[in-house]
């Protein structure tokens, strides 16, 4: 159902039931436009003794009631619907990642082909993938069986083989699964759901092999041919099973489904919906990152293609040790202007890991955390770029000599991105917005013209589920209340001599005020006079590319941002890390 401005005026209440907190927002019309007017929260109640997620939901709604004056829960503990004046709401909807979200295991024949596609489908459906097993991964059969036995997934996605190809391989994978007899996470009272999305000619044999172990649901092959990937059907099937099987087993989720006026959506899937909507309606190539204590989620929509990755071991506290292991201490240190010996830096990072809820007390501790964040974000983005690239193993371009070049198509190109949105404590609560910009720019290394923004309270899940029933309201709130545009980043590319001009600019504000300047190679400069927006004329030197092609001049409309324009002449890859320059910006802002 898609809504239009004419029949608006509805009052929406939306919750996101997280693992620890249930966050509720109220959306209603103010002066003719949809706004998020209030938020409330309450601890999520999936654990004993309450063991009913709707208890936390109603508490969060009561919180909103007290803060906004709009009573949402009546004396019989029911949500008041429809809205009548300043009482009740028209619709209540929700996302959920409570109780561990949707936990899946995927199996595929070839790690970089069917297993990779299965992984994409599961992640795209909002799942936490606890393992991806492929016939050609580094583990032997015994290790794979033992691993499957230990895991207690909510669901399994089994893929492998192209339609019409050999059936033996994928049936062997089914045998492996049958041998392991994995049990579903919530109780043993129902059979584990297995979505089979492999070679369709093997479907009957797979069902036969797994008949004692699991409930097999056949779906279209995620990789009908090596050159083709079809994820939508498997994703939709996973969503349906999530609602019909998994959520019904979790404490109180059956009641939550009954309470809602639309399907409950896994939280990451809702973020994906919002980003896809943005891509479709605004023709924007966007990337959103949510960095947490244990994991970092990266979502992107580029040319209409949505991708999501979860870097399970890259995060700011629980996973700090793993970030350190992956990046090395030197890579973390390079983002800091103050010197700190290796031993002390390591001690700080390890103490953060074992005391994950502590916060930086000193400037040095903050600098360590922000350096760690850059590395976690950089590594997550590397994973995302590779994953979001073209199909691995597919024959792509025919060479001049007529041969096929086998291998991956291009990875996601950062120059394609128009918008980068950051979320998560270290980005959202940085003392200075320049620090947020610095972390995002240093780790994602945008090229050309890119808007850098933050989602201060991570409202994208709420708006994603709202977009299913009212796209207009979702987009309106997204731009007015959800994202905070921080700066527009202009990054010239090419080669220049250090300290020499690489581009000049002319900025004309809305009031007609005109400012001109030169950007030297290696410099990081800003123009805070552009905060209110205006028109920017860019003129590159020589063959430098400022976003319009090599040596091409161009004009860009600048929307209002918190900090104005950022000119990043440090080159790609970075020739100057600019730690001291960033600090100058931050101190100016603070």
């Amino acid at each position: 159902m898609k809504d239009h401005p004419q029949n608006n005026g509805k009052v929406y209440v939306i919750t996101d039931c997280g693992s620890t907190t249930t966050k509720a927002i109220l959306i209603e019309m103010v002066d003719g436009v949809y706004r998020q007017t209030c938020r409330g929260e309450s601890p999520t109640t999936v654990e004993a003794p309450v063991a009913d997620v709707t208890v936390g939901v109603k508490r969060a709604l009561k919180d909103i009631g007290e803060l906004s004056g709009r009573k949402l829960i009546d004396d019989s503990d029911n949500i008041i619907r429809p809205a009548n004046g300043s009482v009740g709401c028209d619709m209540y909807i929700s996302t959920s990642s409570a109780g561990g979200g949707l936990q899946m295991v995927v199996l595929g024949l070839v790690k970089n082909i069917s297993a990779a596609s299965a992984l994409k489908a599961a992640l795209g459906a909002g799942a936490i993938v606890t393992d991806s097993i492929a016939a050609d991964d580094e583990r032997d059969t015994q290790e794979q069986v033992e691993r499957l036995r230990k895991l207690r997934p909510d669901m399994v996605l089994l893929a492998g083989g192209t339609d019409g190809g050999q059936t033996v391989g994928v049936v062997e994978l089914a045998e492996l699964l049958a041998l392991a007899e994995p049990h579903p996470r919530f109780g043993d009272s129902y059979q584990l759901p297995v979505v089979y999305a492999g070679n369709r000619h093997a479907a009957n044999e797979v069902k036969k092999v797994l008949q004692q172990t699991a409930t097999v649901i056949g779906e279209r092959n995620v990789r009908p041919s090596v050159e083709e990937e079809t994820l939508t059907f498997a994703r939709d099937r996973i969503h349906t099973l999530f609602l019909e099987h998994v959520m019904q087993q979790a404490p109180g989720f059956g009641r939550l489904i009954d309470l809602c006026d639309a399907s409950v959506v896994p939280t990451p899937s809702a973020v994906g919906k919002m980003l896809q909507l943005l891509g479709t309606h605004k023709q924007t190539n966007a990337l959103c990152v949510d960095i947490g204590g244990a994991t970092t989620d990266v979502f992107s929509v580029v040319d209409g293609q949505f991708n999501r990755t979860v870097s399970a071991n890259l995060g700011m506290s629980y996973s700090a040790g793993f970030v350190l292991q992956e990046s090395g201490i030197e890579n973390i240190r390079r983002w800091m202007s103050e010197t700190l010996d290796d031993r002390e830096l390591l001690n700080q990072l390890m103490n953060k890991t074992v005391r994950p809820t502590t916060i930086p007390d000193t400037e040095l501790e903050l600098a360590v955390e922000q350096a760690l964040a850059r590395e976690a974000l950089r590594l997550s983005f590397e994973q995302h770029r590779t994953f979001a690239g073209g199909l691995k193993g597919a024959a792509t371009d025919r060479n001049i000599d007529g041969g096929f070049s086998m291998g991956k198509k291009d990875d996601l190109q950062v120059g394609q991105l128009d918008l980068i949105i950051g979320s998560g404590g270290v980005l959202s609560h940085a003392p200075s917005p320049w620090q947020t910009v610095a972390m995002l720019v240093d780790s994602f290394l945008p090229e050309g013209i890119t808007t850098i923004a933050k989602d201060s309270i991570f409202m994208m899940p709420h708006l994603g589920v709202l977009s299913d029933i009212d796209e207009f309201a979702a987009l309106e709130v997204f731009f007015r209340d959800c994202i905070v545009p921080l700066a527009m980043s202009i990054v010239p590319l090419g080669r220049c001599r250090s300290g020499r001009p690489c581009m000049t600019y002319r900025f004309v504000s809305g009031q007609g005020e005109e400012l001109t300047g030169t950007v030297n190679w290696g410099e990081l400069t800003n123009l805070d006079s552009a905060k209110e927006g205006g028109t920017l004329y860019l003129l590159p030197e020589g063959h430098v590319d400022v976003g319009f092609g090599r040596g091409q001049r161009g004009t860009v409309e600048v929307a209002p941002t918190r900090l104005g324009l950022l000119f990043d002449g440090r080159g790609r890859p970075l020739e100057n890390r600019g730690a001291a320059l960033w600090e100058r910006f931050s101190r100016g802002e603070r």
Binding site: Q142, E175, Q325, L346, N347, V354
Partner: protein, 353 residues
């Protein structure tokens, strides 16, 4: 006064609590409700099912997968020994023979006519579950385990490695440490840990250790977020954290009282999803080792990060609005009077335990 925001680690000379001893599947319980048990008594026996071994039978015999069963001399459920013939195929009128033998002792789990593989489960491994504490068995639940009520002293640490061990606690100057748990009241190094391990110590307690020293001792595979399975030859509990942080006064007091006594300790640490902290469990301490000025009231705190890391103190105020820290971060703080002086400092509430 506002409640403390961070979970407090338990340090007490006297506590009465129930310890749950989880049982592996199909364990046989060896105790009865009401029995008095010692820490090293076995409360349950079990066997953990063996690993699965795959044999590519069809491929090795050179037959088609669907016909492999007719060449085998064993069937699912049969017990087999290492080297035992599992199947054979004669070719060229018996002149050429292909044979497959079992690579392990175990039981035939399955034979697949589709993949042509034969799966053997290795024989089960016996495991024992010990009481871990001196106490009384108060409940036996085949599903959840054996519950033991005990009066104990208890110290929870910030971080640990290695599993459960039980032994007499000695200080770092003891003549012999073989089979004992060494309580080093000062920060330790990799060399010290290695020498105690060499001398046969089964556990070490220390206030702190530099991170690089710990990695040298445990190896790079150490996973800080979830420990307990390390094969390092001993158990280590770090009570305060990483660096050169002194042991908190009360922790030192309780552990001093355990010197010469049998204690149990466990290094398992899990910093997310159902936090588990390492612990040392000893006997109840007499009043002399459990002084009245011990920080038993909730206004006493230990600072676990920042400029005052390792200091202890008393909360004297809890401002209601967030304060700006030196880092620029705004956060709710406690006003803490540091122990042993008059200095009062602001400490983020998240940074005290």
């Amino acid at each position: 006064m506002t409640a403390l925001s961070a979970p407090t680690l338990v340090v007490t000379g006297r506590s009465r609590e129930v310890f749950e001893r989880k049982l592996p599947p199909s364990a046989k319980v060896c105790v009865e409700t009401g029995m008095i048990v010692r820490a090293r008594d076995v409360v349950a026996l079990a066997s953990v099912s063996g690993k699965m071994v795959s044999v590519a039978a069809a491929e090795m015999l050179g037959v088609t997968r669907s016909k492999v069963q007719s060449y085998l001399t064993v069937a699912p459920g049969d017990g087999v020994t290492k080297g035992q013939m599992l199947g054979q195929r004669d070719a060229l009128f018996g002149l050429l023979k292909s044979r497959i033998v079992s690579p392990v002792d175990g039981t035939i789990e399955s034979v697949s006519g589709i993949s042509g593989h034969l799966m053997i489960r290795e024989i089960s491994v016996p495991v024992t579950v010990e009481a871990y504490v001196n106490g009384e068995v108060v409940e036996i639940n085949e599903k959840n385990g054996v519950r033991i009520l005990a009066n104990v002293s208890k110290v929870q640490g910030a971080f640990g490695v290695g599993g459960e061990v039980t032994g007499v606690m000695v200080d770092a100057n003891a003549d012999t440490v073989a089979g004992k748990i060494v309580c080093a009241f000062e920060p330790v190094t990799n060399d010290a840990l290695a020498s105690w391990r060499e001398a046969g110590a089964i556990g070490v307690v220390t206030p702190s250790i530099d991170g690089d020293e710990l990695y040298r001792f445990c190896g790079d595979a150490l996973n800080l977020a979830a420990t307990g399975d390390e094969d390092i030859g001993m158990t280590l509990v770090v009570t305060e954290g990483f660096g050169r942080v002194p042991m908190a006064k009360h922790t030192m007091c309780v552990l001093s009282g355990c010197i010469g006594q049998e204690v149990s300790m466990c290094g398992i640490t899990q910093v997310r999803a159902g936090v588990i902290r390492p612990e040392i469990i000893g006997p109840v301490l007499a009043d002399a080792e459990n002084p009245a000025d011990a920080p038993t009231n909730r206004h006493s705190v230990k600072i676990v990060r920042g400029r005052y890391f390792g200091n202890e103190g008393i909360i004297v105020a809890a401002p209601a609005s967030p304060q700006k820290l030196a880092s620029g971060v705004e956060a709710l703080v406690y006003r803490v009077k540091l122990m042993g002086g008059e200095e009062v400092v602001d400490v983020p509430r998240a940074n005290v335990v």
